[in-house]
């Protein structure tokens, strides 16, 4: 069956040039709403009113966006008379928590970062986007990032989903089995705040209520490049985005 080899070669290189250069292909990222100035404060509050999660807050003539809460329903974008500006980038990773401290992993991890993924009640979208990182377009192996099935060999814990009650113990056991130093990334709106599921009898309402979270990757789901950006931030090959530029105050 040598034809597989030749056919594989004939396809040529499909891989993105990111992080060396931005990826220009349309459709790699759904983008996100950004803080927008309106003509009047009424327009701004009407623009904020369409958001079902309260991610948009009107202050004066501006509508500020807290991307951590955004679930990409696009109600502020399509069909709204006061549409918010839309930015189609993908570098969204922020430092979790209030404090300014952020500790990237040492340089030794740059060429060999092992990642374990835990599905803690995810809807399948974030998980699927993580899975895409292994496809030829993104191919994270070229950056020295590998998925591992065992927590004993993992440096980074990637958690998707709001942490369902039935997954709480497996998640904690996975975290405890990981050697130090380790970092925890919350991927997607559900993992950051609980998203549409919130904090209920069956959902912990975000990873941070169970584990100390280091970095947050907003999005519902964040596209593969956003997750890749988060993994590059872990080893300080990219910088996290400041909260200010996300519209917080």
């Amino acid at each position: 069956m040598s034809f597989w080899f030749w056919n594989g070669l004939r396809k040529g290189v499909q891989t993105t040039r990111y992080p060396r250069a931005p990826e220009p292909a349309p459709g790699v990222s759904p983008g996100r709403p950004v803080t927008t100035d309106f003509r009047s404060s009424e327009d701004a509050s009407q623009a904020a009113a369409v958001c079902p999660t309260g991610a948009i807050v009107a202050r004066g003539k501006s509508a500020f966006v807290d991307v951590r809460l955004c679930i990409h329903c696009q109600r502020c974008h399509f069909g709204s008379p006061h549409a918010l500006a839309w930015q189609s980038d993908y570098e969204w990773t922020t430092v979790a928590g209030e404090g300014p401290t952020y500790r990237p992993l040492p340089n030794a991890y740059r060429g060999s970062l092992h990642v374990i993924v835990v599905d803690a009640g995810d809807c399948g979208a974030c998980l699927h986007e993580v899975k895409q990182l292994n496809n030829p377009f993104y191919n994270m192996h070229r950056l020295g990032i590998f998925l591992t099935p065992t927590p004993r060999a993992a440096d980074v814990l990637l958690v998707v989903g709001p942490v369902s009650e039935n997954m709480r113990v497996p998640l904690l056991k996975t975290y405890e089995a990981m050697p130090d130093p380790k970092r925890v990334l919350a991927v997607g709106a559900c993992a950051i705040t609980g998203g549409v599921f919130g904090r209920t009898f069956m959902s912990a309402g975000g990873v941070s209520s169970v584990l100390p979270v280091d970095l947050e990757i907003p999005g519902d789901p964040p596209p593969p490049l956003a997750i890749l950006h988060g993994l590059l931030v872990v080893t300080d090959r990219k910088s996290p985005i400041g909260r200010e530029s996300l519209g917080g105050t």
Binding site: K11, P26, P30, H72, D119, A120, H128, N135, F201
Partner: protein
Amino acid sequence: MTPVPSSLLMRQRIDLDALAAAIQERFPAGVSLSRETAGVSLSIALGERSILPSVCKFLFWDSACSFGGIVVEERATNWRISYLFLATGSGWIEVVLQMPTAESVIPTVSSEVHAADWHEREAEDLFGLQFEGHPRLGDFILHDQIWSEGLAPHRKPHRKLMDAHEFRLRRRANSEWRPVLVVRDPGAFAMPVGPVYEGGVGESLHFLLETVGEDVVRAVPRLFYNFRGLEKIAEGRAASDVLLLAERFAATSAFAHSLAFSRAVETLCGVEVPARSKHLRVLLAELERLRHHTGAITGICESTALAVAASQAAIVEEQLLRASCRLTGHRYLFGLNTPGGLRRDFTRDELRDLLASADSAVHELQVLEKRLRLTSSFLDRLEDVGVIEPEKARDLNLLGPVGRASGRCHDLRRESSYGGYDEFAFEVPRETEGDGYARLRVLFGEAYQSAKLIRQAVERLQPGPVLAACEPRLSGAAVGWAEAPIGATLHWVRLDEAGTVERYRVITPSFNNWLGFHVAVEDFAFQDFPIILATFGLSATECDR
């Protein structure tokens, strides 16, 4: 191989009048029939509980209806439990049993209709109903090592947020809990797999592989690690907020689920969606199916470690994700459906772009399929692996590509012709072998048909509005359905006068098909396990909700 009985292969339209007359004749006392209510074509109200199993048996086995699911509702003073069946070509039949909330014992129907097994276990866990004669109630959704029995979190008195803390106090973890093992041979042991496993990226699933060494005798899936209480969370929310939940509990079939939910609300409001949005919904649903099946094919290639094929399928999948994003602004088609139609329209150029992407995806898939057919090492791993006989598939009511690879022709697009599918020409691919390779062929075949449907939808698209006003005016319940990529999905919605959701019941194809998974994993070699799992292509989160 034994020939498949023609009764399993032929699907003829079931005449509801004749069926109603037959039921009246067979059960002269204790049933009252009514027609055409809220998405249901025939409603059979039972006067007494004892005839429930025989009525269900009559519908499923004697009348060749397929099983839909069980909807348990707690009303002010009584339980309303409805058993849904699909009569080919004639719509849904519901068997309704009402009884006071003080009572909790009903006869089991799963001894007659095996497909109802998990539905009853779920109702027992979440509502505390007792199904008399059911062989194994207990540890199911609320895992026994975490939750004590008898919590019944979905009952009305439990307000979801207030109870979050109370529930954790009330539960007594049963650390003594051990799974039930069946294989007792000398040297037999059970190998646990999951919930965190599988080369890095896998859904949370747990399997207990009972083995005596090389071969696995029995494998039992333990699910519901992703259970987030979707149905309970939805209660008391506005329909527009529940739509967000419908989209986000199982994102790989997001469009199909939001479509089923929207259709239920539209039925309640008596709204007919505009023709343009009907066609666009067909287009988007088929785009989702095409992308989902490409992903499933990628998974099968990965499970057999055929790296080049897996990469090439993954390239097609990513291209389809990008095409979805270019067209709709979201890679998983979130935020499009809304009761009354679609939230936004598309230009001709955008649709042309999509059509080109779908055509090129089909071309790539055809090339891939041809090469896979020539790869004997690949076929050896799939053929005669994870076989489900047609009789078993009918018995367990398997849906979607899995059912259709085992000779069933259950496809809501054909059997209930919803949402304008009857205007389009398409085939429903079907195989009868029921092995892994048959499932792969069905996936390829359906992907081609989806592209064909996308082309027809674009060509027939008429200008016009895409959104009709849809304000809930009447309180009541309705059922909405759609053929999701994995199989038929049913969304049952009850709205009150204010337009908020009183009860939301989601019946998913993954829930239905996981029940049949144990049939495919009997007496197989260890290394076949990921392959059987991949050819099933089920979603744990869609099952768990």
